[in-house]
């Protein structure tokens, strides 16, 4: 279990983390989601012991580890671009954290770990010959080798793309579930956060803006900023309150409420931008093959079930 209590990291007059508190249950995968510069990576470094907080405490399994240096914390860390030791082969990278064990034991564990990440037989490979995805798997095996109490992943899929990314994402999720690991995972990608995190902590400017399951987060973003960051673009004043309107709740029919500005097909659905005569801009999504085209005059109806009230009043 990880407990972060009122951690502050100040860099001169600026606070990278501003009295941030957070709890991760044992066996849970928590995702830190936020734009770059929001302090996600710094929080990971604080938990790993690579960065001393200006104030606040970090507890692992109930023990205060704030003064414990990184090499005695038993926290595994994987960076975005693997950061393998370039002067050691794959096997000796994985073996680095197994210092003290006998050679045979080390060889056996390395082979088992490589098998776990799907790289059986890679032990003698030079790290320079690996693809991005393979390097990331080696980094994962290396981090798991000393059986860490907690695994921290900093944008683990950030340097990968396409099908490779999806496959590693699935593998990671299965692995975490199978090993019962406590994982904190950092990303700026909403889809990745929802796919990997059982709970997601949205970070903004050194603070936690909201912690919730992906489902809750999507159903009820805490404020306009969170809604906007999650990709909801219809943040409007409706009946005198600031609300988010799901694009699928915006129904268009021929009429005189506004003018279609854009119509973009995105796979099976079509995203339609409407400028209403009252000045609001709304996005509507439809799966219909026939849809209004730019320039068409439309009537705008909003299904009340798709309107999410925002708790805090904050200008977007």
């Amino acid at each position: 279990m990880i407990r972060v209590e009122a951690v502050r990291v100040a860099l001169g007059p600026r606070s990278i983390l501003a009295d941030l508190s957070l709890e991760v249950a044992a066996g849970e995968t928590l995702t830190l989601l936020g734009p770059s510069g929001s302090g996600k990576s710094t929080l990971l470094r604080v938990v790993a012991g690579l960065q001393q907080p200006t104030s606040g405490r970090v507890l692992l399994d109930g023990t205060d580890v704030t003064p414990v240096p990184a090499h005695r914390r038993g926290v595994g860390l994987v960076f975005q671009d693997a950061v393998l030791f370039p002067h050691r082969d794959v096997g000796r990278n994985v073996a680095f954290g197994l210092a003290g064990a006998g050679k045979e034991e080390v060889d056996r564990r390395v082979e088992a770990l490589l098998e776990l990440v799907g790289l059986t037989g890679f032990a003698r490979r030079a790290v320079g010959t690996l693809s991005g995805g393979e390097a990331q798997r080696v980094a994962l095996a290396r981090a798991l080798a000393p059986a860490p109490r907690v695994l921290l992943l900093d944008e683990p899929l950030g340097s990968l793309d396409g099908p490779l990314r999806d496959r590693l994402q699935d593998d990671l999720r299965d692995l975490f579930a199978r090993l019962g690991l406590t994982v904190v995972h950092v990303t700026h990608d909403v889809a990745e956060a929802f796919a990997l995190g059982r709970r997601v902590a949205v970070m903004r400017e050194g603070r936690i803006a909201q912690v919730a399951t992906p489902q809750e987060l999507w159903r009820h973003p805490a404020d306009a900023w969170v809604a906007g960051f999650l990709g909801m673009r219809n943040i409007v004043v409706h009946d005198g309150r600031r609300v988010v309107v799901r694009p699928e709740a915006v129904q268009l029919s021929p009429g005189e409420d506004g003018t279609v500005v854009t119509a973009e097909r995105r796979g099976p659905s079509v995203l339609i931008g409407v400028r209403c005569d009252d000045g609001r801009t709304l996005e509507s999504v439809t799966t219909a093959l026939e849809h209004p085209a730019p320039g068409d005059r439309v009537r705008v109806a909003i299904d009340p079930s798709g309107v999410i009230a925002l708790d805090t009043e904050e200008p977007a």
Binding site: R45, A48, G49, L50, Q52, P69, A70, H71, R72, R73, G74, V75, G76, L77, F79, D81, V83, F85, P86, H87, F96, G97, A99, G128, A139, R142, A143, A145, P146, P148
Partner: protein
Amino acid sequence: MDGDRPALRRTARAAVAGVPLVFLAVFFVWPLAAILERSLVEDGRLDLPFDVLVARETLDVTWFTLWQATASTALTLAAGLPLTWALARFSFPGRRLAEALVLIPFVLPTIVVATAFLAVLPDALEGTVWAILVAHVFFNVAVVVYLVGAFWGQLDGRVSDVAATLGADPARRFLAVTVPLLQPALAAAAAIVFLFSFTSFGVIVILGGPGYATLEAEIYNQAARLFDLRTAAVLALLQLAAVTAAVAVAGRLERRLGGGRTARSTPRRRPAGRERVVVTLVVAVSLALLAVPVAALVERSLSVPGGYGLDHFRALARETPALLVTPWHAVVNSFLFAGLAAAIALAVGLPAAAVAAGRRGGWLGMLVLLPLGVSAAMLGFGYLLAFDEPPLDLRGSPWLVPLAQALVAMPFVVRTVAPALRAVDDRLREAAAVLGASPARVRREIVLPLVAPALGAAAAIAFAVALGEFGATVFVARADWPTLPVAIFRFLGRPGAENVGQAMALAVTLAGLTVAVALAAARARAGRGWRP
């Protein structure tokens, strides 16, 4: 007509390459050949000098040269690495200043370094091997700080972070991760420090006691004091072989070690917590240790019976039995010779740089570096042997001094100017040509302004190198035309506090001049020119 142009251009290119080639042939290869002849040929027939090679004295000198160079290298690395770490990894107020100060011992002429250690060392250490080793460390620390530091700054700090999360304590992180990654830079720095220490001359002849002669110092001893030219020539040959072998081994090591580049570099960060104490301590102690000899030198130059004063400096204008002229003349001579040497080095080095910067000129770039590999004393000795009979009888000519100094300085000119020429974007020349500029106009109005800072720096570096040149100059300088380093050496060779004081005053003068010129070089290189 058009058909003639390429032929004309080829001729012009050959002429440009010819200048440095002829210069190297006459003032480098020929003196070496003279040494070879003197050591291997006796009465017109080949006479291999086995007697000298296996002589007890030769073995002793070779052994001492080797082990003191090895020890100097190890000590320099050990002393330099903490400072390298602090300067390469952290940012703090005054870091740039500290980096600049570290360079000062390195730009100081070796004779000044030796004199400074004479001033600072307790009598108990004078004439011991420790004096030599400490002076070598002082002089060479900058090599480690700059070469290894540049590489260290490029390392990805997260590699070490990962090792920490895997349970590696700081010592294991340093030994198992950082050192292997730094290996190419460590090997390169070690090779250079080893070479400098192996061919050390000024430090040895001034600080080394009777039992501590390197090959370089012994060449001087045999040739200039005992007039045994054959032994000197054999030792010179031995030295050349050893240096060549060391360079070859270093080159191989560097290529083999390879290390591994990390993907990206981590910017310097502010030290935090306990780090701040360690970094401050390392920088402060290192700089203080580097400052002590210089401060002691200045102090001794100002100390007179019963207090402090400028007496030693005032005495520079008076005749002295140590020299045939006033010490002040040595200052003027030094300026004169260094100016001439810089002019010659530029005249020869610029064509060489122009060729070396071209696509097929790399060989000349390597060729002009050769004089760096040959020790200065050996070169001076070669001049004595080579230019003592027609067709080139320069015996007793003051010209030998600037010529020898120019040869020593020329590699620096080429190394400074060629990269600047190479950095001129070809598309700029093409753009100018398309706009109707002739090749001459392109050179004058595009290339010249772009490389002007490098030219200024090259001139200043050549001047500074010539100013402090000692090993070759001490062989070829006439008694009535001493340079500053030679005058310091003569003063130190005589007994009496008066002479030592004058040597200190001259050393301070030389140090001041050198630092001023080096600063000018740094300024010239840093700026006021255009950066593409």
